[in-house]
Subunit: 219 residues, 2 copies
DNA sequence: TAGATTGTTAATCGATTAACAATC
DNA sequence: TAGATTGTTAATCGATTAACAATC
């Protein structure tokens, strides 16, 4: 059993949600041939405190060196490992509407070590026509496909009305993680699965909130 | 000047980011013809504490009634107003790639009182062909269009390389809010604008993190 | 009125920041 | 060695939860 956190103490959600941001900034540093960086320098770039960076990283281990700072490539690799990039998870996309298609063609998966193995829909019009080189299959085949290929992740880009039953089918087929764009609260408490709910509209609304406050102030 | 918060005290980001979730749940209650609800009942549905609900709502005013609870429609309307739905913000989408197209056809905007007035791209192949009934125009026209139509929000779904310059053009054209899917950190500190950065990949990575931890435990 | 439930204050909890000893 | 910067503990800050008086 690999121990990422030094003393098995629980890592807070706040820290976990900041990891992908470190990952992005470190990749950028590598791209710019920056080989080492101190927490203070990184904190200036990321607009956070150096203290927070050191605390966050130390949840997982001592990746730096006193008097030197952090080796960028080493740190990037460590965070990459913590985030499971090297686990090479596999995924299917369920629902080939506009968002499904957009995600199927998006390079974000491969950049993070996740490979899309299959696309699924119920519409006969699009079944059989590959998207971005990946076959679009009938939902009738989804269980068999996921079981045979040991798929880890299901991306749910289908209508609210179909999301609940599809999710249950997928959980039974061994899916362990749901990246859920369906705006449907999934109830899969009987299954040992992780769910990441994405409500795109929510972030648009917080933007609208800020804009509305500005307007109110000017009245 | 409208006072949403009772004593002009600053509302925390944590509270603001929860508002759209209340908004969703309240709409669901209305759909199910539920006319009143107590903080305790709502807390059970939403899996949060009743205390938090009462605290959150009270940042903006006393919307409930002792001994009764909350009038669902009234509360929905209040939150709707706080989130600026009745401000009827206007938006343009910049970049008609897969994600841009998916958003242009997505009903999420109209549900939140935001109307998409124009779509923009640099590719001559798609300029002139409307998407979801909205014209796709050349980026050369974006400044004129935004100024004339007093556009509030720009949705950035263009490549990283083009995002920075486009954002500056848009800020100069009077855009006040950016819903930024470009994965580019925008530097618009000279302009009085609000930015909501969306990093879709980040949420996929936190899901991968959870899955990776599960695998590690089993080793 | 009695019961219910809010609005609000006080207590707790957790997360962030500051400080500094350890050490490269 | 001296200077720099981490890892880590302690202090602070803010957010969440609990409690209860106010009141419908």
């Amino acid at each position: 059993m690999i121990q990422d956190d030094k003393n098995d103490k629980q890592i807070s959600q706040a820290v976990i949600r900041r990891l992908p941001r470190y990952y992005r900034y470190l990749r950028e540093l590598i791209r710019n041939n920056i080989l080492r960086i101190s927490s203070r320098e990184l904190s200036e770039k990321m607009k956070v405190t150096a203290s927070q960076i050191r605390q966050d990283l130390n949840c997982f281990g001592g990746f730096g060196q006193q008097g030197y700072g952090y080796n960028v490539k080493y740190l990037y690799n460590e965070i990459s490992r913590i985030l499971g990039v090297d686990k090479h998870f596999t995924a299917v996309i369920i629902g080939m509407g506009n968002l499904g298609k957009a995600l199927a063609r998006n390079p974000l998966f491969e950049k993070r070590g996740v490979s899309i193995k299959g696309l699924f829909d119920i519409s006969p019009d699009i079944i059989g026509k590959p998207c971005n080189g990946i076959p679009v299959m009938s939902m009738n085949l989804v269980t068999e496909f996921c079981v045979i290929n040991s798929i880890d992740i299901a991306v749910l880009t289908l209508p609210k009305s179909e999301a609940a039953s599809a999710a249950e089918t997928l959980a039974k087929a061994g899916i362990k993680g749901f990246w859920n764009f369906s705006n449907m609260e999934l109830s899969l408490s009987e299954y040992d699965v992780k769910i990441e709910n994405i409500h795109l509209g929510d972030t648009l609304m917080t933007l609208c909130y800020e804009l509305a406050r500005d307007l109110d102030e000017k009245e």
